[in-house]
Symmetry: C2
């Protein structure tokens, strides 16, 4: 069932938290998103092959997939966009992803040429018109992927943060906003320590997003941060996190 | 057509350089590998959906896919292993990949439970028996993926290096060994500067592999390094390379 993150009657942001059952699917829980503005729509992080049918059916209550304008992919991991071939075949949408991954995406497909429907986002990011609004692809390189974007919606003031802010929860818990930041840290910290690349990069990101008017930070796994106070708690936390290469040493690189 | 990297009559290493046509497929060229030891076989980096049919047919001249023991995946990018669902359906093989990606792999599949055929490699690596030999999964975390392994074959003394040592060439050039290291650098440097994560990690890797008896370094895109002298030239080059987060600054993280 879709969760309404925002709805002003014309502009709607929906999240799908329950299309992966992490227990029976033996896979990491992940969230898919739909932004609708008037007659236009974009899917964010549509997910892997196992979520395609569920997402197609669930979104149909809100928006016809036949009219889908875009897929936005933060990066090229399987839980983000392994379903690409199915969306390319069944819709006319274009996909936006970092230019670093443009020539890797076709490996998800079975050989037909979709190159005119794959849009490479330049490193500095870009604005993307959707109906009467302009979504922003915000640089998040190395958080965690080498070419990585988050998507900011200036109407809802939601930052769809990809893998930054992720928590590993079951799908029922994932659908609820974070209530207590301190109690939430144990569900985030293991993932961020390994999959985020370096504290230096976290600090660049923090400096950038502190300029931004954010009401919600909504990651691609687990629970969302709602309200400026909770968003700022996350931003303050990630600013000081040692992670990725910060924590590696020669002991991690020895012949087995 | 397969290229024989090694053959002692019982133990054979084959490379497939021409299953992606980087021009007509609009995708990055990539190499697939088959190691056969007696009646046992392993595919390394089998590739995406577009290479499945070609690899299945090409390998059949050397080894029946029905008897495939393993797929080895350096990490979970689409050009490495987006074809996973097809191999799971048509063979009984197990796949080895970093434990970091075990719960992401099912997103390549359509929902059937393959968890008993997905083996998570621990961070420190492991030995994997194949016929009468023991292949080694060698830690290469952050080169480029957070959980990343290279595969060393002690019979052929080949290090299958995943994305380390990659060059961006057409498939005809990729099939030839590197002849002149200096002239080869322009085909490597752009990729390594961005997709490799930090010089600190390169140096840890260099310290590890200098202990190893290596006759060939064989990456997953582009041309291979043959002979100790050429392998050492690559090892010396990567030791000093500034890359990834080393090259990022606040200018890369600004709102578009």
């Amino acid at each position: 069932m879709a969760v309404e993150l925002y709805n002003n009657g014309r502009h709607v942001c929906l999240a799908f938290y329950d299309l992966v059952d992490e227990a029976t699917d033996h896979a990491v829980q992940c969230n898919q998103f739909l932004i609708v503005d008037g007659d236009h729509g974009a899917l964010l992080e549509p997910g892997g092959n196992m979520t395609y049918n569920g997402l197609l059916m669930s979104m149909a209550r809100y928006f016809s997939s036949r009219n889908l304008d875009y897929i936005f992919a933060s990066h090229a991991d399987p839980d983000i966009v392994a379903s690409l071939n199915k969306w390319m075949v069944t819709t006319n949408c274009r996909i936006l992803i970092s230019k670093l991954w443009v020539r890797f995406l076709p490996h998800f497909t079975t050989g037909r040429d979709y190159s005119d429907r794959i849009i490479g986002i330049p490193d500095e990011g870009m604005s993307v018109p959707l109906g009467s609004c302009k979504l922003k692809a915000v640089p998040a390189h190395f958080l965690h992927s080498e070419g990585c974007f988050q998507f900011y919606d200036p109407i809802s003031r939601i930052l769809f943060s990809g893998d930054l802010g992720v928590s590993l929860l079951d799908h029922a818990e994932a659908a609820k906003p974070v209530e207590n930041f301190e109690e939430h840290i144990p569900f985030m910290i293991g993932f961020h320590r390994r999959y985020m690349i370096a504290n230096k990069i976290c600090r660049y990101w923090v400096n950038m997003v502190r300029q931004l008017d954010i009401e919600q930070i909504v990651p691609q796994h687990g629970a969302r941060f709602v309200g400026k106070e909770m968003c700022n708690k996350f931003i303050d936390w990630i600013e000081t996190l040692q992670c990725g290469v910060d924590l590696m040493n020669q002991d991690h690189y020895r012949m087995p």
